[in-house]
């Protein structure tokens, strides 16, 4: 069964540094998402991306964050000047038509120290 692949599975970054989280969505999917889950809390929507542009973003997704689809297969989330409170599990997801099932990756656990 097709999967969404995320790398790395764990990332430790010093506060103030930039970090890039990578995702390879399912190949025929057209809609891409990033979600965040702070430890012990629920999964929160960050941003959706379609046709090479952001289609929706939450209030969490401020100027510190950016997304990119640098080629035909990767989808990245960049966090500039990381803060301690950015520590969380970040999930990438993709959807074939933007309706219905978001297929989630296994997540990247980001720890800011």
């Amino acid at each position: 069964e097709p999967e969404v692949t995320q790398t790395p599975s764990h990332q430790v970054t010093q506060m103030g540094q930039e970090v890039i989280l990578r995702c390879v969505p399912i190949s025929n999917h057209l809609y891409f998402y990033w979600y965040r889950q702070i430890l012990g809390q629920k999964v929160e929507f960050l941003v959706s991306f379609y046709n090479n542009e952001i289609s929706e973003k939450s209030e969490i997704f401020d100027d510190q964050f950016s997304v990119e689809r640098p080629d035909g297969s990767n989808f990245t989330l960049k966090i500039r000047s990381t803060k301690l409170e950015d520590s969380a599990m970040y999930f990438c997801a993709s959807s074939e038509r933007g309706q219905g099932l978001n297929t989630f990756g296994s997540g990247t656990r980001l720890t800011i120290v």
Binding site: Y31, L101, F104, G105, R109
Partner: protein, 114 residues
Amino acid sequence: AQSVTQPDIHITVSEGASLELRCNYSYGATPYLFWYVQSPGQGLQLLLKYFSGDTLVQGIKGFEAEFKRSQSSFNLRKPSVHWSDAAEYFCAVVRNTNAGKSTFGDGTTLTVKP
């Protein structure tokens, strides 16, 4: 805006007992509905989904859920719980529009007593 409520933060059941986890949603139309399970430090595993049709849906690991439009609910059930079912359970909704994002409930932690 859509929202999801899981009224029970923590539920404890005995192994072999039945289970029902509650989920209520708020949305103008019928959304797509999902249940996920998450073990500590792990990713999200899809248990089951409802798009349309039969309101009782079967999922993996012996779980089922029933969509009740009149109550805006999508409760998850299992007739006999196993110790390995102990985990966090999340209900989620997706708008049936383009770029439909997932909105999650706060989750219910299930503890299984021997």
